[in-house]
Symmetry: C2
Subunit: 720 residues, 2 copies
Amino acid sequence: MAAEESTVWPKAPPSNPPVQEASERRKSHLRRPAARASLADAGWAGHVRAVVENVQPCVDAGRFPIKRAVGEQVTVEADCFADGHDHLSCVLQYRHENDAAWSELPMLELGNDRWRAAFTVDRIGVWRYAVTAWVDALGSWYAEFARRAEDADLAVAARMGADLIDAAADNSAAEQRAQKRRRGEEQDRRREEELGRVRDEERGRMRAWAKALRQGSADRLKAIALNPKLLDIARRHAARPNAVRSAPDLRVSVERERARFGAWYELFPRSTAAEAGRHGTFRDTLGWLDYVADMGFDVLYLPPIHPIGEQHRKGRNNAVQAATGDVGSPWGIGSAAGGHTAIHPELGTLEDFRRLLEAARRRGLEIALDMAFQAAPDHPFVKAHPEWFRWRPDGTVQYAENPPKKYQDIYPLSFDGPDWHGLWQELLGVFRFWIGQGVRIFRVDNPHTKPFVFWEWVIAEIKRSHPDTIFLAEAFTRPRIMHRLAKLGFSQSYTYFTWRYNRRELTDYFTELAQSPAREYFRPNCWPNTPDILSGPLRHGGRPEFSLRLVLAATLAANYGIYGPAFELMENRPRDDASEEYLNSEKYELRHWDLQRPDSLAPLITRINHIRRANPALQSDWSLRFHATDNDQLLCYSKTAGSNGVLMVVNLDTRFTQSGWVDLDLAALGLAADAAYEVHDLLTGARYTWRGARNFVRLDPRAGPAHILQLPAPSGVTVR
Amino acid sequence: MAAEESTVWPKAPPSNPPVQEASERRKSHLRRPAARASLADAGWAGHVRAVVENVQPCVDAGRFPIKRAVGEQVTVEADCFADGHDHLSCVLQYRHENDAAWSELPMLELGNDRWRAAFTVDRIGVWRYAVTAWVDALGSWYAEFARRAEDADLAVAARMGADLIDAAADNSAAEQRAQKRRRGEEQDRRREEELGRVRDEERGRMRAWAKALRQGSADRLKAIALNPKLLDIARRHAARPNAVRSAPDLRVSVERERARFGAWYELFPRSTAAEAGRHGTFRDTLGWLDYVADMGFDVLYLPPIHPIGEQHRKGRNNAVQAATGDVGSPWGIGSAAGGHTAIHPELGTLEDFRRLLEAARRRGLEIALDMAFQAAPDHPFVKAHPEWFRWRPDGTVQYAENPPKKYQDIYPLSFDGPDWHGLWQELLGVFRFWIGQGVRIFRVDNPHTKPFVFWEWVIAEIKRSHPDTIFLAEAFTRPRIMHRLAKLGFSQSYTYFTWRYNRRELTDYFTELAQSPAREYFRPNCWPNTPDILSGPLRHGGRPEFSLRLVLAATLAANYGIYGPAFELMENRPRDDASEEYLNSEKYELRHWDLQRPDSLAPLITRINHIRRANPALQSDWSLRFHATDNDQLLCYSKTAGSNGVLMVVNLDTRFTQSGWVDLDLAALGLAADAAYEVHDLLTGARYTWRGARNFVRLDPRAGPAHILQLPAPSGVTVR
């Protein structure tokens, strides 16, 4: 894939005449009803022969950007062709939105009129790219010349080539003059002079070539004409008449690495008090930072930290009436103590929060806040801005419902009410407030119950000033809604991993996430549990179940998270058989966790997060490949990145030992067909000698759920 | 699929406020750099909550129309959703471009936020369609009401519903007033009054419903509220605030039936003389019309009928030097006798040609002309318009090459030269000239060597005045080029059928033609042979090979053609081993054919064309389904149309008898799983009793290449 970049080509912005945009020209024609209007007036471009179609990647015809993290490649392909048999030249053009100048790379033809080039995005922000193609007169002449045989014919063809070469030299001189006129004082004189010298020298070679072609003897003309180096020079200097450029420009939203790779830990600060029964504070949470950081997490995500409403406050286990002293749900936001820009008084002060942020940062831990745009009945918004709510004829506000859930303690905001402008600006202000404190990651609660256009606007506004901000969408809802949220700007999304258990489900779902075109904009973040979801096998499940789901999440997805300490302490009691809620859920009461419990999964988590950090293969999603096994309970998959390769073999049966043969796609792993190689289990330290594709595996759930095997570096075979 | 249309819905054009076009609004935002511009000014539509995405069918984001023939359906699907849990309404809107008013149909939700409706195109020309969605306040209220339980809550909810119903009645009244104002004298008074009465009556029912909801007792409110008939009325009359409409409008190019279904016969008129050695004329061709029509062909396609150049005329078997008396290639167009609007003198006069057209028409036979836009060196263009050619420095014009073919007798026209406007208008005039004579089908020679934009323009121009014109693209070249020509307006295209021989090749290729998204614009026309191509098994092949290729072409594709009488007389001698050319090709010399030869395939052709005409299943392409067989030499496929079903079992081995079991997809054929049924061989008249999916077949190539079995009408099972 890197081959495209190695071709010599000027990296300077093209200074050719502006290219034609075919689709624009058509549009102007469509606006004209007159059948007999002159052709040129009607916008039909008779000189334009090249076609650029089907530029990929591309989301909804360019309506939305694709996504990348800094340092990643964008591999662009397009169908480019022209009528007849002339040669075509195609370039990929790209620039960061803040740069005026476009860079460009020649595209290589893959065959069947498909062209490809790749560029690397080395800065965050929005980049643009486009494909330009034109009929390459020089290349066409050159290829045709090689076929000619008769003397007279050769002489005529040589003269035609000489004319083209002289025209390229003329164009080079004209460009140089134009550039000189454009240049201001601030330009780098020395570089300019050096470029000028190169140009002068190359023009000299072109003039000499053209002259030789005009004067050469018939028997030497072929030798004179067929000089690929000179052809290359002349093509670089030639004009690009009637070039066609793809339209509209396509965009890449480039975010920092954390958007692509990270381990999240969700924690209720109010449950961090050292003594059971006391309301925890940010100062208590300070004492947990080492614990979380030492486990190898990158992001510490806190549920809402704002004042909790008193009116209609929920009691323990979601009781509609709170008892005295019940702490309520952090998502019931707002009270006399303030709203979305205030700190819940029992957690501490804004100063305490800033101290927590700073202390976390020193440990390489970033704090993510939960943005839940809704209000408790006593949120200051309700009195100050009644127009931001939808009132019923009896003077009440309908509480929120997210069927089957009912939130009697929560009023939804009316995003399309008469003063939506005011509300939207206020909520943008909420983001800006926390960004001002230093927060750069937001987990957004229920984004699918607010208008899509609101999110598109607010994320664009924030990214404009703070492009390092990351947004995680809590949207477990309908797939097309999840995708829309991802397209319009959310960096990451929760996924259906939480409900995918067997081999078929996991294989299908992760193949979709890693291979479907939606991967260009949808970045998964996989959670085995959340405060809302104690799902499937974790209900009443024990250590093997929790270990299994942890290994799957952390190795299938570059972004994953757990809700702790419920996870590492294997909290497994559901509230009832009908819901996925926890019994005595932390959402409604304080909990006190014994982090020192000897059966804690913290050591396993630590090990796995360490493996993730040490192996680039586990830090992105697209390289995921599933490999065959002859036992349905064994799931085998690999991830690769450059010379780093990791192979997982997971026993999906948490009760019994399972064994069987795995059948590796050796080509995908860059391994030779029949050679022996050593695999190194990064979980246990064990080393095995394997040979070829078929190897035997045996996993006892009491020992652990999986092999995480480091593979040898690929040996000459190309890694796909 | 017809279910969508049965739902009651007003067919009148919607008179609601203009809908928002989301993408337009975004664009206006993108034009504004200011971050702090007021939200509304910046084009962000805070009230707009619905989303319409991924409208299908759609070619290149709406850049090109899809294609249909008159009477066909357009089934439109789209992803439509909104934030939150409100109900959505979606309609499909469509109109013929010449109509001012849009028709509309409600779309049905298929699940997973996908919606569908279908409309029938009953006139040729261009149609437009779009999808509009909006949050349905009444529907949302109704669904929510059903869930409410407490008395007080019910009363409040009832009042909210009453407000919505009254608003719908108000909207209905306002619309009626607005329509009255708009109406001119020419309107149908009686229909208007009747519609007014219906509206008045429905408004009365709405008012009564609202009143009942305001006054109803708590214990009866549910019964009052939940009336689906009244809900339906109110929803029809309600406004559609903040509706979102897909943009741009998508288009359907609707052509007459012949674009979808036809059997073509290609014939050199100069070879129709009764006596060997004499140059045939149009008068001679008159004598062939019964022969061609009786075989059941729909289109008689003639190679170019214009004067043939004298300079550099080709001799027999493509000799670069013609011998005295050699007739030259009809594609070497133009001489002192005229150019593209003249008739080759040896064929007769324009009057003779018109007589031929008319005589063919009387026999249900349409004549297609070959448009080859190129010139012999003595074409009048060369002297009159030297600027339409590309001259070499030695004063010559480079002759045409279509590698590996060389056409020394042909000068290409320069479509992007300085006077391209003049040339294009001239060539448009050529089409118009022949349209003026009554020709409505054009086979276009080598369209891929002329600019795509030329074809897009010229076809659009002609279709504007003569939408019944059909264009067949001769483009065997690169697939993306064939597809571009189809997208930009060619009605049909030659295909790779000519080079697809074994079961795998045929299955893959025809599955692609019938099922891939490209079927929306690419209509195949399948030819076993052409004057240029004596391919594969036909070379040295005999009766079984010709029969096999005929049956495949005529039953796999709704449009097919043969080059005759070379085909029915099984002309099989190639010029050499390297090319696909015929020995003694009619392209360069007169031939004399003995139509009475007892071994002629004419009876088989007649039979097959008769079967095609009698079975609608064979008259379109999309229903094609392949069925499994346990013998690689047996190809089994079906086509269906309504209650008509035809099953082909073809023996691909022309030497040996082949037998085996076919395994039918009974559901696709609408047949019951285990019942017995009779199949009727339309080629031989034989009848067989089959049972269930697996049935035994035995085919002897000496008896014939295939079964063409008429299936019983499907019995209650839905035909897919």
